[in-house]
C-alpha cells in the first residue's frame, strides 16, 4: 500500500504535469496556485451558504432557491481546485508525499464527498427542488450541513498547512 503510494507519487512527478510545472517558467507555480485558490474560494464560499441554510440560517428562503446556484458554483470550484491540485502536487510529488498534512487533507475531501453522496440519496434532498420541505425534513438535513462544514474546513486547513511544513 505504502509502496504503491510512493510509486504513484514518483510517477506523478515524472509525468507531463510535473514537467509543465517545473520547466515552463518562474510564474507557472504561482499562476496554477492562484487558480487553485480561486477554485477553493468558489467551492467553500458556495458550500458555506448551502450548509448554513441546512443548519437553519435564512429559514425564510426555501432550500430549493439556494441549492441550485450554490451547488453549481461549488461544483465548478471543486473541479478547478481538483485539476490544479493535481498539477501543484506533481511539481514535487515525492517530497509532498511525506508531508504530514497531505493524507489528512485527502481523507477530509473523501469524507466531504461521501457526505455529499449520502445527502443526495436522502428523500428530503431529492424532494426539495419540487416543493419546500417540512420543518421535520429540514431538521433531518441539518446534520449534513454541519458535517460538510467540518470536513471542508478540515480539508482547507490541512491544505494550507502543507505549505508550512
Amino acid at each position: 500500500m505504502a509502496e504503491s503510494y510512493h510509486a504513484y507519487m514518483a510517477w506523478l512527478e515524472a509525468s507531463a504535469a510535473g514537467h509543465v510545472m517545473r520547466d515552463t517558467g518562474v510564474w507557472t507555480y504561482a499562476i496554477v496556485n492562484l487558480f487553485h485558490l480561486i477554485g477553493i474560494a468558489g467551492l467553500f464560499g458556495a458550500i458555506c451558504v448551502l450548509d448554513l441554510r441546512l443548519l437553519g440560517v435564512w429559514r425564510s428562503i426555501p432550500l430549493g432557491m439556494i441549492s441550485r446556484p450554490a451547488v453549481n458554483v461549488a461544483g465548478t470550484g471543486l473541479g478547478l481546485a481538483a485539476v490544479t491540485g493535481v498539477f501543484l502536487l506533481a511539481t514535487k510529488a515525492r517530497e509532498y508525499s511525506d508531508n504530514p498534512f497531505l493524507l489528512p487533507k485527502f481523507v477530509f475531501i473523501v469524507l466531504a464527498l461521501l457526505n455529499l453522496v449520502v445527502l443526495h440519496l436522502t428523500p428530503s434532498w431529492r424532494a426539495h427542488r419540487g416543493r419546500d420541505l417540512t420543518q421535520k425534513e429540514y431538521r433531518g438535513l441539518a446534520i449534513f450541513g454541519a458535517t460538510s462544514l467540518v470536513f471542508w474546513l478540515g480539508a482547507i486547513t490541512c491544505g494550507r498547512l502543507i505549505g508550512y511544513w
Binding site: 518562474v26 440560517v57 511539481t91 514535487k92
Partner: protein, 121 residues
C-alpha cells in the same frame, strides 16, 4: 447573523495562526550567519520558492531562496552555479532543532553576488 459568521471566520483563522510562525522569516533565527560549502544540488526554481543544497563539511544544508520570479530576477537561475562549485550563503538558519535549512539573503559564487533579498542584506 453577521456575528455568527465572524465567529466562524475567527475560528477558521485561529487554525492557521500557529503555523504562520513557520513561514516567512519568523521560523528562522534572528541573527544572520554565513555558510560556505560545495553545491550538491544546483538552483531549482520549481515550486513555491527557489532552492539549492550545499554540503558544509559532512553536513547537507537546504538553502531556501526567494520565490522563483524574485530569485531569477536576482540573476540566480538554474545552471548558473554548477554542482561542485564552492559558494557562501548568507541568511537565517531555521530555529527548528535538527532542521538544517537556511533562508537565504545572499549567495556568493566567486566574484558573483546574488542578493535575492537585497533589502535584508
Amino acid at each position: 447573523m453577521p456575528k455568527r459568521i465572524l465567529a466562524a471566520a475567527a475560528l477558521a483563522a485561529s487554525f492557521a495562526m500557529p503555523a504562520a510562525a513557520h513561514h516567512g522569516w519568523s521560523g528562522q533565527e534572528e541573527k544572520v550567519t554565513e555558510l560556505t560549502g560545495t553545491v550538491t544540488k544546483g538552483v531549482s526554481l520549481a515550486g513555491p520558492h527557489g532552492e539549492m543544497q550545499i554540503k558544509v563539511g559532512t553536513v547537507l544544508w537546504e538553502v531556501t531562496l526567494a520565490p522563483p520570479a524574485r530569485t531569477a530576477a536576482a540573476g540566480l537561475k538554474p545552471g548558473v552555479i554548477p554542482v561542485g562549485a564552492t559558494v557562501t550563503v548568507r541568511g537565517n538558519k531555521s530555529t527548528e532543532p535538527g532542521h538544517r535549512e537556511m533562508k537565504t539573503i545572499l549567495v556568493v559564487h566567486g566574484d558573483k553576488r546574488y542578493a535575492v533579498y537585497p533589502e535584508r542584506n
